[in-house]
């Protein structure tokens, strides 16, 4: 979110490229995750219980892998710091999507209520407010320096 704001002059061109790549990659993953149908077999049966448990296990494993990847890339630095940051933020976005999909059971397909619109609208508000704050205040800081 606060990408190149660490005060040190980073090469912005590669950073934007990596950020762009991260965004494209995460949106692809998000699209696949959310458009795939939620497993909802016959109610009450043993199959349905196993399917529910499987959902949580898959979510847990995915979350563990994403967390491990994010920490590993910081613990064993292989990339430039700006690139590392972009990768970490991209992994965080994907992991949030995993949590929403597998733990909070949100998918774009089946929710018929207003809840999904509420969540999407809140996400819009959050993006606008956070990016607006960062742009305005970091710009102000740059001008004051």
């Amino acid at each position: 979110m606060s990408g190149p704001s660490n005060g040190r002059p980073t090469k912005t061109r590669p950073l934007t490229a990596v950020l762009g790549l991260a965004v494209v990659f995460s949106s692809a993953v998000l699209a696949t995750l959310f458009l795939s149908p939620v497993a909802e077999p016959m109610r009450g049966s043993d199959d349905s219980r196993r399917a529910d448990i499987r959902t949580y296990v898959i979510g847990y494993l995915l979350a563990l892998m994403l967390t491990g990847a994010a920490f590993a890339i910081v613990y064993w630095p292989t990339l430039a710091s700006a690139t590392t940051l972009a990768v970490v933020l991209g992994l965080a976005l994907v992991q949030m999507a995993v949590h929403f999909r597998f733990f909070l059971h949100i998918s774009l397909g089946k929710s018929s209520r207003e809840d999904l619109q509420l969540i999407l609208f809140s996400a819009l508000i959050v993006i606008l407010m956070v990016s607006g704050t960062l742009v305005v205040l970091l710009n102000l800081r740059a001008r004051m320096m």
Binding site: M1, S5, D52, H105, V130, R141
Partner: protein
């Protein structure tokens, strides 16, 4: 039937009558409104943190007072607690024996308390190294953001205890089920906020 089963985001209870299902829908929607307002609150604290990043006034930064291992362990603990609460939700949804439900909730509670203990220990270490909230704008924003999440986890732990007592007193009736459903959403939501915290605050601060 199965196409209309998913009435609201969250793990819907099965085998309940239509009226309870409708009530659950409304109750859960209201709780989502609260969660999203909480998300906006956290988002603005993140924005403040981002703006305050350079405002260290020569004081300690995260890299100088912090190691990566504790935050990794805290992340694993919180992640596992999300999973164990998921198991509790599955037990509730499929009317498993009460002991099983209480067991999973107990494990979740223990993990939540372990997380809180580690976090408090971290803060104590930071204070000991001269990183306290009034030292710099950066540390003020840090201590506005991260302990607020800890406070949420603390209240989540209290809520788990309350729900375990309600389960023992009333049994899994419709009201208790809805409340545990909301508690689950709250707990998983806290984990999502933690993802943002460990990525934006800790990992960004520790990148060399």
């Amino acid at each position: 039937m199965s196409a209309n089963e998913m009435k609201h985001p969250g793990l819907n209870p099965v085998g309940v009558d239509e009226r309870t299902r409708e009530q659950a829908g409304g109750a859960v929607f209201g709780f989502w409104v609260f969660l999203m307002s909480d998300a906006v609150l956290f988002a603005l604290l993140f924005a403040t943190y981002g703006v305050m990043l350079p405002a260290t006034v020569g004081g300690p930064t995260l890299a100088s007072v912090y190691k990566i291992l504790p935050v990794f362990l805290e992340t694993l603990i919180l992640l596992s607690s999300s999973f164990t609460f998921g198991m509790a939700s599955v037990a509730l949804r499929h009317s498993a024996p009460r002991a099983q439900l209480l067991g999973w909730m107990g494990v979740t509670l223990a993990l939540g308390l372990a997380f809180l203990g580690m976090e408090l220990h971290d803060f104590a270490t930071m204070f000991g190294n001269g990183a306290y909230p009034t030292r710099s704008g950066y540390l003020s924003s840090f201590f506005a953001l991260v302990p607020l999440h800890g406070l949420h986890v603390f209240f989540g732990c209290i809520w788990i205890v309350v729900m375990m007592v309600q389960l023992l007193t009333f049994g899994p009736d419709a009201r208790v089920k809805i409340n545990i459903l909301r508690l689950g959403l709250f707990w998983h939501f806290l984990d999502v906020v933690w993802i943002a915290i460990f990525s934006v605050v800790y990992l960004q601060g520790l990148i060399r």
